[in-house]
């Protein structure tokens, strides 16, 4: 009779090997281990087994029940895993299809550049101030030491509104308005739109400037060089080479034009730098004592420097934009590159 148990185990084992699915395995379990299963049937015959072997028979049948049950469980687990794997594989998607994007907008390159420049000067303690774009001749010219009938007015082709009112040609009037209202130390930058009566490949009638002004006791030309050198290295990288050269602005003296070594040709001369190897990026200088007179500062007590740079021009250089006019055409194909 014990032999019957072994035969049953061998048979069940053999059957188990051939089964794949969960359903088959469950019915196998019923077939052998169920209440009406073959093992139960064998156990029912226990009466015919001699007494002395009944204990062995019982023990062995329990063992076989456990063995078989474990083996079916393992097979079931495998079968279920197999099934899930197959199911998952059937759900396969095409990962190369484009993602479900919610389109995001971009900031205008001039705004990006303005924010970057403002941030650098903020780190140096400069405060942002603003002023009117339609400006009094007084602030735009006169108080900046550019009297009427002075040839220096030719340097800035001007849009006129009416007698005594112009579209500001630079952001410099903000420095006068600010100095009128406060005593030194003054440490401001003023970004904004400016206007020149000029329109060609390299000029747009409107563009953006950032004016900077620092007035305090003992400010020197060396400080001007220091601040601007720091600034340009922040914008264009620490390898940037600067050149300060004498120039003329009626409201600064000594005045300096700042060039950076052309990053395209490394100074050898190319189309961008007009073969000179240098690119003009900024005008600056020590505040002219005449300007201090207008705002009632004593040039024997305080000194300062001012600078003005074209944001658009810096953006052009930094982003490699070929034509200034693109900035204000607002073509989607342009805007979406920033």
């Amino acid at each position: 009779m014990t032999n019957d148990l072994e035969v049953l185990l061998a048979k069940a084992d053999a059957e188990l090997q051939t089964l794949q699915t969960e359903e088959e395995l469950l019915s196998l379990r019923t077939k052998y281990l169920g209440r009406k299963g073959q093992l139960t049937a064998l156990l029912r015959n226990i009466a015919v087994i001699p007494k002395e072997r009944r204990a062995d028979f019982g023990k062995r049948s329990n063992e076989i029940k456990d063995i078989l049950s474990d083996r079916i469980d393992v097979a079931l687990k495998e079968a279920r895993n197999r099934k899930r794997s197959n199911d998952l594989l059937r759900q396969r998607i095409d990962v190369t299809l484009p993602g479900r994007r919610v389109h995001y907008g971009r900031l205008h390159p001039v705004t990006q550049m303005r924010r970057e420049i403002s941030a650098i000067f903020s780190r140096l303690g400069f405060t942002v101030v603003e002023g009117p774009e339609v400006e009094l001749d007084y602030y735009n010219f006169e108080a900046l030491n550019i009297p009427a009938d002075h040839p220096a007015r030719d340097m800035q082709a001007t849009f006129y509104i009416e007698d005594g009112i112009v579209l500001r040609t630079h952001t410099s009037p903000v420095q006068v308005r600010k100095m009128e209202k406060m005593r030194p130390p003054v440490k401001i930058i003023s970004p904004g739109r400016v206007y020149r009566h000029d329109s060609d490949v390299s000029h747009t009638p409107m563009f953006h400037q950032i004016e900077g002004l620092l007035v305090d006791r003992g400010v020197t030309f060396a400080d001007l060089k220091g601040v601007l050198t720091y600034f340009f290295k922040e914008v264009f990288g620490s390898e940037t080479v600067l050149r300060f050269r004498p120039s003329f602005f009626p409201f600064t003296e000594p005045s300096a034009e700042v060039d950076i070594r052309c990053m395209l040709c490394g100074g050898c001369g190319c189309r961008v730098c007009g073969q000179s190897g240098w690119i003009e990026v900024l005008g600056s200088g020590m505040v002219d004592p005449a300007v201090f007179k207008y705002v009632d500062y004593d040039p024997e007590e305080v000194s300062g420097f001012a600078f003005g740079l074209g944001i658009d021009r810096i953006a052009l250089l930094k982003y490699g934009i070929s034509d200034l006019r693109l900035l204000f055409e607002n073509d989607q194909r342009f805007l979406e590159q920033f």
Binding site: A152, I161, P246, E253, S303
Partner: protein, 801 residues
């Protein structure tokens, strides 16, 4: 200003390369904008001599010449009449290239072989003379390349001279700077000439009636001049600096102006009535015909140079047609004067005549340079015209030109300004190199006198700049300012703008920057009412184009323009915004109010049309949602969307005002089809414009509230209301009753059409109930909900569906 290197070398030795010189000039403040190499416009043209001339057998108008290039004789057919045996002429040999793209070929002209071509000045682009073959000096080596023989190569610098340096508007002025840079000596051409016995005072006189405008007038008379083209060397000099040769008398005045910076004028003496000069102001309405034969009507403040009867020149700006030098002129009166810079600038601006002379006078010429320039011109004119210079010059100087005062220069101030110490010996040496006289001063202070031509040097700071310039900006160290701490309470207006643009970017809107000026027609295209303040924009007096002639009073026009341009470029789906100013006119003499605004425009699909998304067109509610995001971020909760205040350029049924705290801060709506038509825009668009300052002034603050611990219970109800009725009225009605348990009421569905009665729409309302201290029960919620529904239904034309 164009500067010829060859000309420059007449006055100073230059041992630098062209690039080095340009670099030094630039670093001295004379920015070299461009360097041009001047070369002959031809090749293969050589110096040749005519051996013989004989008639052409078959053509009356041609001759046959044998010309020699020293080692070879060439037969040449020629049509010119001005040549004779022994003349030295330019020969374009076979293979030569001459201007106009011609290559000389071996040719047969009426059966006779010609081995090249004899050329006129014009054919070689050396000058304007096309009347005959160019006759060369006899001493040129035969066979030599003509370009080399005439030394036609040169380097031309284009120098940007800043307005403070009128002394550099001359070759000598630039040479002086070069001398200071190189340490070489400046050579001013010596002026020596013979005078005739006839004294100028017997021929003319000068009377100055406006000494404030003309502090000094000097004159000389040269008799027996022969007017003809100037010698080649002078014409080449003038050509190099961009001036056209006219005749020897005019060329001399231009040459000396370029050389010294002093403008001069040559009058034909025979046309000066009473033979004298009177300098006076113009009379209002006075009519004058200038050299360029244009009629000028004058005001009362222009300086006129007159003879005994009439004006003969606009002082310092342009001579008169009535007294110009002609081919048969014999006696010339040369003028060299100092005119008031402001007066010249006003007149030249008003007359719109910007001449080389006016350019120099208005910037300020050397007030002591008149006689030297006059004598230099007289000398040159006598030399090249065969004229005789009358004895003496007239030098009327009724008003002493302000003498330049001595300037104190504190050595310490130099260091304090530049941030580096410069020794006084070095300062003295540098100043002397540009002819600034240094008088002995105390150790710490120098007394300096600038030369008279440096009209820009009047103050200590001017001298400090010269020191810095000569010392070299590159030698000044780099430092960082040690600045007093500044405490500012300034609000960073940018921060909120930044926040708002971040949200807009996230919502898919890209920033644009439009010009602040628009066409004056914009207000009509938008159909603004006659009474609308925005119809009266700030006008630009001198616009570049009509399209940019007035300052914008609304952002909408610019945004629609941007939309139109993009549509023309094939981009029909656009979400854009601009932050900028509008300019509201406050009347004459006043600055406009500049209002910072946010403008947005949406056109085309809600989402980019790709495989996931259906082609859903963006509309009013898309843009409204964006604004709701912004308001929420700024913690502004009470913006009202009021439909009864319309903008004429918006769709009357799909637009509203944005009202905050009882104040209108902007509008939102679909653009009126009439405006789309008027602006030639095809697709619908939704726009908004918000006064950013008024918006940000209402910014709320973050106030955290604990979120509820007890669950909520919600009830939905659908009500029918009139199609015209705004859903907001139902919400408002619910809010009228202060039910403590009601946490929120929102609209979750709007439905019209099938199964809904004509003229009605169904609004799905969701009521959310919650208590702060217990879990609400169905009974208590039902009670409150019933009360609320009854209240709504009690409203006119509302029924539960």
């Amino acid at each position: 200003m164009l500067v010829s290197l060859k000309w420059l070398k007449d006055y100073v030795d230059i041992d630098l390369s062209v690039q080095e010189l340009a670099g030094h000039l630039t670093m001295a403040g004379l920015e070299v904008d461009a360097i041009e190499e001047k070369k002959p416009a031809f090749s293969g043209v050589v110096v040749a001599k005519i051996l013989s001339i004989r008639p052409h057998p078959d053509a009356d108008k041609l001759v046959l010449c044998d010309v020699t290039t020293g080692d070879q004789v060439h037969p040449i057919v020629c049509g010119a009449k001005n040549i004779k045996d022994g003349d030295v002429v330019p020969l374009a040999k076979v293979g030569a290239k001459i201007p106009g793209g011609y290559t000389i070929k071996l040719s047969k002209i009426r059966g006779v072989q010609s081995e090249g071509m004899l050329c006129s000045e014009q054919e070689l682009a050396i000058g304007d003379d096309a009347s005959g073959i160019m006759l060369l000096p006899d001493d040129l080596a035969l066979g030599k390349d003509l370009g080399e023989a005439l030394d036609l190569t040169d380097i031309i610098f284009d120098i940007g001279v800043t307005p403070n340096r009128p002394d550099c508007l001359s070759i000598v002025g630039i040479a002086r700077e070069v001398a200071a840079i190189t340490g070489n000596k400046l050579r001013f051409p010596s002026v020596r000439f013979a005078e005739s016995d006839e004294d100028i005072t017997r021929l003319t006189s000068v009377e100055i009636l406006a000494p404030d405008l003309c502090p000094r007038y000097t004159a000389r008379i040269i008799k027996n001049v022969a007017i003809k083209p100037s010698p080649l060397w002078m014409r080449l000099r003038l050509d190099a600096v961009g001036l056209r040769a006219i005749n020897n008398a005019v060329d001399v005045t231009n040459f000396v102006m370029m050389e010294t910076g002093q403008p001069l004028h040559a009058f034909d003496y025979r046309f000066l009535e009473e033979g004298r000069i009177v300098v006076r102001r113009s009379k209002p309405g006075e009519v004058f015909i200038s050299l360029d034969e244009k009629e000028r009507v004058l005001r009362d403040d222009t300086l006129m140079i007159c003879d005994g009867q009439k004006p003969v020149a606009i002082g310092g700006i342009m001579g008169g047609h009535n007294s110009e030098v002609k081919d048969d002129t014999e006696t010339i009166l040369l003028e060299s004067a100092y005119f008031n810079p402001v007066s010249i600038r006003r007149s030249s601006k008003w007359l719109q005549m910007s001449t080389d002379a006016a350019f120099r006078f208005e910037r300020g010429i050397d007030p002591h340079g008149q006689v030297r320039a006059l004598d230099r011109a007289a000398q040159l004119l006598a030399e090249i015209s065969g004229g005789k210079i009358c004895k003496n010059a007239i030098d009327q100087c009724p008003k002493t030109i302000e003498k330049i005062e001595d300037i104190s220069l504190r050595i310490k101030k130099v260091g304090d300004t530049l941030g580096t110490k410069i020794e006084s010996e070095d300062i003295i040496r540098m100043l002397k190199s540009i002819e600034i006289e240094v008088k002995s001063g105390r150790d710490d202070t120098l007394l300096v006198t600038p030369p008279t031509f440096r009209v820009d040097l009047t103050r200590e700071i001017d001298i400090i700049e010269e020191v810095a310039r000569l010392y070299g900006y590159d030698r000044i160290p780099v430092a960082m300012p040690a600045v007093s701490a500044t405490l500012t309470t300034e609000k960073n207006g940018d921060a909120l703008a930044e926040r708002i643009s971040n949200i807009l970017n996230g919502c898919g809107y890209s920033e644009v920057i439009n010009y602040s000026f628009v066409t004056s027609k914009a207000v009509d295209l938008l159909g603004l009412d006659l009474a609308d303040q925005r119809r009266n924009p700030v006008k630009i007096a001198n616009p570049l184009t009509e399209d940019q002639s007035v300052m914008r009073t609304t952002m909408v026009y610019s945004l629609l323009e941007t939309m139109r341009k993009n549509a023309n470029a094939g981009s029909f789906n656009l979400k854009i915004f601009e932050m900028g100013r509008v300019y509201l006119n406050q009347g004459a003499g006043k600055l406009p109010e500049e209002r910072i605004c946010l403008g947005c425009l949406l056109t085309g699909v809600r989402y980019e049309d790709i495989w996931h998304f259906k082609d859903l067109q963006g509309d009013f509610y898309d843009l409204k949602g964006v604004l709701e995001n912004i308001f929420e971020d700024l913690k502004i909760s009470d913006v009202k969307y009021v439909s009864d205040v319309a903008e004429p350029f918006l769709h009357p049924g799909k637009a509203c005002s944005l009202v905050l705290g009882g104040e209108r801060i902007g509008y939102l709506g679909e653009v009126h089809p009439n405006v789309l038509d008027a602006m030639d825009v095809k697709n619908p668009a939704t726009v908004c414009e918000i006064d950013l300052e008024r918006l940000t002034a209402n910014k709320g603050s973050i106030g955290y509230k604990d979120f509820p611990r007890f669950p909520s219970s919600s009830r939905d109800v659908a009500v029918l209301i009139d199609v015209e009725q705004e859903a907001e009225t139902i919400i408002a009605a619910v809010r009228e009753i202060d039910e403590e348990l009601l946490e929120k009421v929102s609209i979750f569905d709007v439905y019209g059409g099938e199964r809904i009665p004509e003229g009605k729409k169904s609004i799905g309302l969701r009521f959310c109930y919650r208590s702060g201290d217990h879990t609400v029960t169905d009974e208590e919620v039902n009670q409150v909900h019933d009360r609320l529904v009854k209240h709504i239904v009690a409203l006119k034309s509302v029924s539960v569906r």
